[in-house]
């Protein structure tokens, strides 16, 4: 135990023995019944409430009226919905109400724990006239609060929220008709609750603020949740009944006659709860004593959760001598066992025994919530807070979930060492949770499409915002309200950014700005970060048919020292749920999931490794080639099926690992051998290589101009106070880039237009033809349907990057260009049968291209000069050109130019190797 809440000792209402926190005026019907008893009992038996001496609690009640015990609120506040009182009270205020059912309330079983005593501890503040306006110690006026909430539920319309949002400068939903704004939102919710049997109403506190008469109530709710929430619960139940009765009177379907009576009886027997949310969240570090007993909202990551703990709420004691029964409520986490029978006649000492099956228990669970990495200040280790969740919120969240939690902050003195003389009153702080929301973290938000629909339902009716049914998160108000105005600005900024013509280049440039050049690689990785859309075929056999991955996998292969690792590290930082791992050090365990025994529960649990952890994100694997075969075989499954199967310790299970993989590998012998194919260069099975959508060769070249710029760049970076810093181009900061990607991933799901579809087909066919090469019998990568799928994904990602809802022609063209370039750099060149290093050069450096142009002209001039048909020998031509030129001509350059000309049909090359002749064609 011990997770209970301290009572406010100075508050007489909460003093031992008083179950009711609401001291109602003396007009309270039951007051006359008990005052003397209550006083007497309180004086000798604190914290115990006596039942009527002879009436057994089992005495049948005409209508069983469950007590409204809420774990979250209850600890300091056992509120019993004695609707009799409140209703009679209300009767005076609102005489026009139909209170037909009151009689049943009044005939409450007398033995139940509700005693409607006046405050037991005499209080100076107690007004003798009985006109108690406010709850002691607060400025909560009971009648006012209840009336206001009543009015709110009966009067709140969607339009209020829209006006409110507009006032705050938020983007609002456009209503299809003015009528939509007139919908009585909460009445509709209440009806829905009746129909579905739901007992929880999630209350968006922004709506309270939006409805002018209830503005004050929202403030009160934040300040005095444990006083106000029970009032709300009470009003909710009253209104449930009221609306049911109204509907019955009006003869609404399902509510006629007997059916209606049944419904009302059922409502009567239920406990209704209001679960408020929508307070702006604070960092858990900022929770301080001034927040005690207030409603707060924090975000974090669940690191562990206890099993369900039966939490005794009311202990039931029976005197062994006279069978007198006493119920004792939990107080400060303890039950005080009555030392003797409270009945005067009996008074036996030590005769009270606990009757277990008559005690009342509630479900409780303690959750430890840890700060998420983004909330932790630099260099600090994350803090953790305890959450106590009760009843239907138990087991809603699991370790690993990110939560937005609304709750009441408690600090409770604990006596750490009862044996010691001095009580070292340390204080334990925790949150009594009233409302949970799973997974809204803008930066680290997981890809929604990877979670199955309805998987993470929070109990309760009542969506958020102004809509009737806006549980889907796409555009809803909770997202909006968690975002402050700053967020709003950011969003607008991102939208504006997406309109820029050079957005693609800008984003690519911003990705790892410290790495020089490598534009296409960056573009490919950028698209990987955006990802394609996940598709599943809704129809079809079992579980909705196959699912097509939208994740793009990228492999970088290249010489050491070309900053592959840096790129990976960078991506890991900005990617949603990015995980970085090195193939060399990671055993299969590190990369996948394994079974361990939980030290607490001694149960076998699955602990997931990098791939499962990055479910819905990007997994960066460095030194991919150094990975053990066992681990690599796991990747086969991950990359195509997107699952990880585990068979260990008798548990066989399949975990989702819907992750994009960004891998980097070094060639065999550390330096890339241009004379060999990619597959010969990398020690990876072609089956695995082919699972990568994009494969980039990142090779090191010698080029004076490039080298000079590189040196300049590096010297500027590595030696302090040198003049140069960066390239002077504008670059998106890391967090903005990250925000942009997350925004696009979560909001944009582009669909393919017809034109784009046609283009895809055309490109695929072209690529397939290019792949045809009758001469080669080696294992090689050709265009297969995999490439088509890749192209679709890349086009989708490109459209997403533009925040466009449609995949258009240009998206496909860029996707095709990227694919083709990646294939050109990685796949062998069909004309020469060698990896053509020259192809890599295109697009690198203007210098190179200019040089090519000159060379080309020179070659043509040379051939023209050499006199038509005979042509020139390859080597001769090369030497002649070399002599003419002021700069060094590499053979690769020469070869490229010749091949280009050959492709254009301007020259023809005959012969093999040294005997090659170049001849001018056409002209």
């Amino acid at each position: 135990m011990g997770m209970s809440t301290p009572r406010r000792q100075q508050t007489p209402l909460f003093a031992p023995g008083t179950s009711s926190p609401l001291p109602f005026p003396s007009s309270s019907p039951s007051k006359n019944k008990t005052p003397t008893r209550a006083r007497r009992l309180d004086s000798d038996l604190p914290a115990s409430q006596s039942s009527e001496p002879l009436a057994f609690p089992s005495s049948p009640a005409p209508v069983s009226m469950p007590k409204n015990r809420r774990g979250d609120i209850h600890s300091s506040f056992s509120f019993t919905p004695t609707s009799a009182r409140s209703r009679s009270k209300r009767q005076s205020n609102l005489p026009n109400d139909d209170l037909r059912s009151d009689a049943s309330h009044l005939s409450m079983p007398a033995s139940s724990a509700l005693n409607l005593s006046v405050p037991a501890v005499p209080s100076d503040d107690d007004d003798d006239t009985g006109e108690m306006k406010a709850i002691w110690g607060t400025n909560v006026n009971i009648q006012d609060a209840m009336r206001t909430f009543r009015e709110f539920i009966r009067g709140f319309k969607v339009k209020y929220r829209i006006a409110y949002d507009r006032e705050r400068g938020l983007r609002t939903r456009i209503l299809s008709s003015p009528d939509e704004g007139e919908v009585l939102l909460y009445e509709a919710y209440l009806r829905r609750m009746r129909q579905t049997g739901e007992r929880t109403l999630n209350l968006d506190m922004h709506n309270l603020a939006a409805y002018p008469p209830s503005k004050k109530l929202q403030v009160l709710l934040v300040k005095y949740p444990q006083e106000v929430v029970p009032l709300m619960d009470q009003v909710l139940k009253d209104l449930m009944l009221e609306i049911a009765e109204e509907d019955q009177t009006a003869g609404v379907e399902d509510m006629r006659g007997h059916q209606g009576e049944e419904e009302i009886a059922e409502i009567m027997s239920k406990v209704y709860k209001v679960r408020p949310f929508g307070v702006s969240s604070v960092n858990m570090r900022d929770l301080n004593p001034s927040d005690t007993d207030k409603l707060v909202c924090i975000k974090g990551l669940v690191i562990r959760a206890t099993p369900v703990i039966p939490d005794m709420k009311v202990a039931f004691f029976r005197c062994l001598t006279c069978n007198h029964t006493v119920q004792v409520e939990i107080e400060r986490g303890k039950i005080d066992e009555p030392a003797r029978c409270p009945r005067d006649v009996c008074g036996t000492v030590g005769s009270m025994s606990l009757v277990h099956n008559r005690c009342e228990f509630a479900d409780r669970q303690v959750i430890r919530l840890q700060e998420t990495p983004d909330a932790v200040p630099d260099g600090q280790t994350p803090h953790t807070v305890s959450l106590s969740v009760y009843d239907e919120l138990v087991d809603v969240s699991k370790p690993g979930d990110r939560l937005v939690v609304t709750g009441i902050f408690r600090s409770m003195p604990v006596r750490v060492n009862p044996r010691q003389r001095t009580l070292k009153s340390l204080f334990r702080t925790f949150l009594d949770v009233v409302h949970i929301r799973i997974g809204t973290d803008d930066r680290l938000g997981l890809d929604r499409s990877t979670r199955q629909a309805g998987g993470d339902r929070i109990p309760g009716v009542g969506g958020v915002g102004g809509g009737i049914d806006m549980d889907d998160d796409e555009e809803n108000a909770v997202e909006r309200q968690h975002r402050t105005t700053k967020r709003e600005e950011l969003e607008a900024k991102l939208r504006a950014l997406s309109q820029r013509q050079d957005i693609y280049e800008l984003l690519a440039r911003s990705l790892a700005p410290s790495i020089y050049a490598m534009d296409d690689v960056k573009k490919g990785i950028l698209l990987q970060l955006f990802g394609g859309t996940n598709k599943s075929i809704a129809r079809g056999g079992g579980g909705g048919g196959p699912r097509y991955r939208g994740d793009i996998n990228v492999l970088l292969v290249g010489d050491p020292g070309v900053s592959k690792s840096q790129i990976l590290q960078y991506v890991h930082k900005i990617a949603p749920r990015g995980v970085y791992t090195s193939g060399k050090g990671s055993s299969a365990v590190g990369l996948t999931a394994y079974v361990t025994r939980d030290p607490d529960s001694k149960q076998l649990v699955l602990e997931s490794g990098a791939l499962v952890l990055s479910d819905g994100g990007v997994c960066c694997i460095d030194e991919f080639d150094k990975m053990s075969d066992a681990t690599r075989s796991v990747l086969h499954e991950v990359m195509e099926q997107q699952t990880v199967s585990i068979a260990k310790a008798g548990i066989i299970t399949t975990l989702n690992a819907r992750t994009s993989i960004l891998a980097a590998a070094n060639p065999i012998g550390s330096k890339y051998n241009p004379k060999q194919t990619v597959t010969q260069n990398i020690d990876l099975p072609p089956t695995l290589i082919s699972r990568f959508d994009l494969l980039y060769l990142v090779l090191d070249h010698v080029d004076e101009a490039l080298d000079r710029r590189l040196a300049q760049h590096l010297v500027a970076l590595y030696l302090e106070d040198a003049p140069m810093h960066g390239s002077g181009q504008d670059i998106l900061p890391l967090d903005e880039l990250s925000a942009y990607i997350t925004y696009a991933r979560s909001r944009v799901n582009p669909t393919i237009t017809e034109a784009a579809g046609d283009e895809l087909v055309r490109c695929y066919v072209t690529m397939r033809k290019a792949g045809e090469d009758p001469r080669s019998n080696e294992k090689r990568i050709t265009a297969t349907t995999r490439q088509l799928e890749s192209m679709i994904r890349l086009s989708e990602a490109h459209a997403r990057m533009r925040l466009s809802p449609f995949v258009e022609l240009d998206d496909v063209k860029e996707a095709y260009r990227l694919m083709r370039d990646a294939i050109n750099t990685s796949a062998r060149d069909p004309t020469t049968g060698e990896i053509d290093m020259g192809l890599l050069d295109t697009g690198i450096g203007r210098q190179q291209r200019k040089l090519r142009g000159d060379l080309r002209r020179a070659v043509l001039a040379l051939l023209d000069g050499a006199g038509g048909n005979r042509g020139l020998r390859w080597a001769d031509a090369f030497v002649q050109l070399e002599n003419q030129s002021s700069v060094k001509i590499t053979s690769a350059d020469f070869q490229d130019v010749i091949r280009e000309l050959e492709q254009e049909g301007l020259v023809k090359v005959t012969g093999e190797r040294d005997r090659r002749m170049i001849r001018r064609e056409g002209a």
Partner: protein, 538 residues
């Protein structure tokens, strides 16, 4: 009067605190006030030195309960939640700092808590500074330092707490006591741990012991403290170069079998530190290869006691923070290098070392055998420290990367390190006979220490260089660029990495000479040094 008061504060800080509260209890931020009051009280070095220290030779038990102590410590874990305390008791007296109300047994449950008086204090785990060398502890404490001791610190002045980061070195001055600490928040078991209720703190600069850069010449008659402008005949640059040469010779002769070149590289490693993270200007890792394995030890000593290279003692004599790490399969497989949070308690890891530590990793103790998962993880962690100067603390469902500043020197028998990729590799050229090998592993007391003055000058050179900065004039920058382009045209294999390496070496070279600007000559010299090193390798 002031002296008396100070004595009282030393002997009975609780009473002083309570009196202070009576007088100034309504101060807006009382904890802040307390911190200022006490730090003023002990402002003078003389009075500060009178505060007893808490360290291994005087553990918490040796101090009287609730007496004033100072504790120079490394912040180990800041993940503990804040504690609430009653800042004012019902009788109006001071609360906090471990002062609780004396309470009669009878009224156990009916205590009233005034929630408006609840205040927060931060709790963190601190340990005595690992890797701290003796002379450094002596200089700061006038006392011997020692091994780790963990303590729980309650910090009441919350403004400061935010600045404390894991592995920071801070001196906590406060009241020693014990508190119950609930390690597992989902359970109720509390254990008593030694606790320091902090009155005020003193933070230490990056170097721990401050030295000047560029160095000023010590006058011979002056002792440790006094440093003044040199009036000696020699120009300071010349003196620096001479001192540097002497230092290298001493290091080479005592610990490296007379290999001056290796000693120079070790010196570079000693003065390397993290200069910037974006872009990464990190200390390069160095492996001294061909370093003979330790001579076989008599079997009576037991297999685990492999001798430590004498180099570690030499480093300890020069550097304030140095940590010898003897690798063996057993230690790799069993100990934990990265801190890991288990059941919400952050277990310390070997690599959780204060910023500015120079670590000597010796692979001499490694034998054949299997490296288990823990070992692999440890190797990875150390490699990450070398490559990126970050150390991942493992938390459930998340990892937090913390910046480290640990410069690594590895000694290995092989041609390269068995476990690690390093930036530099310098093969040791030393005689290989058994006497010479034994000399490499001779115990610390057999080292021929230079005169105290000389040693102090050495320390000035090394520690000063650690906090120095080197500017690069335009001319040198141009020269470097031109040379790179030239080199690359000459040799295709020269890559950007080479350029980065040359630049790193040249900066370290300039630092070791206490030159605040990088001259073309130093660059040339450094590059030549690197070329020599590479020639030795092939």
């Amino acid at each position: 009067m002031a002296a008396d008061y100070r004595t009282q504060a030393l002997q009975d800080p609780t009473t002083v605190l309570q009196e202070l509260y009576r007088a100034h209890g309504n101060a807006e931020n009382f904890p802040r006030f307390v911190a200022e009051h006490f730090s003023q009280l002990f402002e003078t070095p003389g009075s500060y030195k009178r505060i007893p220290t808490l360290n291994v030779s005087s553990p918490p038990q040796s101090h009287q309960d609730r007496s004033l102590v100072r504790f120079r410590a490394m912040v180990q874990d800041t993940s503990l939640s804040t504690e609430m305390y009653l800042s004012k008791h019902n009788d109006g007296s001071c609360g906090g700092w471990g002062i609780y109300e004396a309470e009669a047994e009878s009224s156990s449950s009916a205590r009233e808590v005034d929630y408006t008086h609840l205040q927060e204090c931060s709790v963190l785990w601190a340990t005595s500074v690992p890797a701290e060398s003796e002379w450094c502890a002596h200089e700061l404490d006038q006392l011997e330092g020692g091994m780790c001791r963990i303590i729980c610190a309650f910090v009441y002045d919350r403004n400061e707490v935010e600045t404390f980061k894991s592995t920071d070195i801070v001196t906590f001055i406060g009241i020693i006591s014990t508190e119950a600490c609930v390690l597992d928040r989902t359970q109720e078991i509390a254990i008593e741990v030694p606790t320091l209720h902090v009155l005020f703190t003193k933070s230490h600069g990056p170097g721990l012991v401050p030295r000047v850069f560029p160095r000023l010449v010590r006058r011979t008659e002056e002792n440790h403290q006094g440093v003044s402008i040199g009036e000696s005949a020699k120009p300071i640059a010349q003196d620096n170069a001479d001192t540097r040469r002497e230092l290298i010779r001493w290091m080479a002769e005592e610990a490296l079998g007379g290999d001056l070149r290796a000693a120079e590289w070790v010196l570079f490693s000693c003065i390397a530190r993290v200069q910037s993270r974006h872009p990464p200007l990190l200390p390069p890792s160095l492996v001294v290869s061909r370093f003979p394995a330790p001579p076989p030890v008599p079997s009576t000593v037991g297999p685990s006691a492999t001798p430590v290279p004498t180099l570690s003692a030499v480093l300890a004599a020069l550097l304030p923070l140095t940590y010898p790490l003897n690798l063996s399969l057993e230690s790799l497989n069993k100990t934990r290098y990265t801190p890991e949070s288990k059941d919400e308690d952050l277990h310390a890891g070997v690599l959780q070392l204060p910023q500015g530590t120079v670590m000597l990793v010796s692979e001499g103790g490694v034998r054949e055998g299997q490296l288990l998962e823990q070992g692999i993880m440890n190797v990875r962690a150390l490699q990450e420290v070398m490559d990126a100067q970050t150390l991942a603390y493992v938390f459930p469902f998340s990892q937090f990367s913390f910046p480290t500043d640990i410069s690594c020197i590895i000694v290995t028998e092989g041609r390269k390190s068995a476990f690690f990729r390093t930036d530099f590799n310098i093969p040791l050229c030393a005689p290989n006979d058994s006497a010479a090998v034994a000399a490499l592993y001779k115990p610390a007391d057999q080292i021929k220490m230079p005169s105290p003055e000389k040693l102090a000058t050495f320390r000035d050179l090394v520690v000063g260089a650690r906090c120095g900065k080197v500017q690069v004039p335009e001319a040198t920058s141009e020269h470097i660029q031109a040379q790179f382009v030239l080199e690359r045209q000459r040799d295709r294999n020269v890559t950007a990495d080479d350029l980065i390496r040359w630049m790193t070496v040249s900066k370290l070279h300039a630092l070791s000479l206490h030159e605040p600007t990088l001259s073309v000559e130093t660059w040339q010299h450094a590059k030549a040094l690197d070329d020599q090193r590479r020639a030795l390798l092939s």
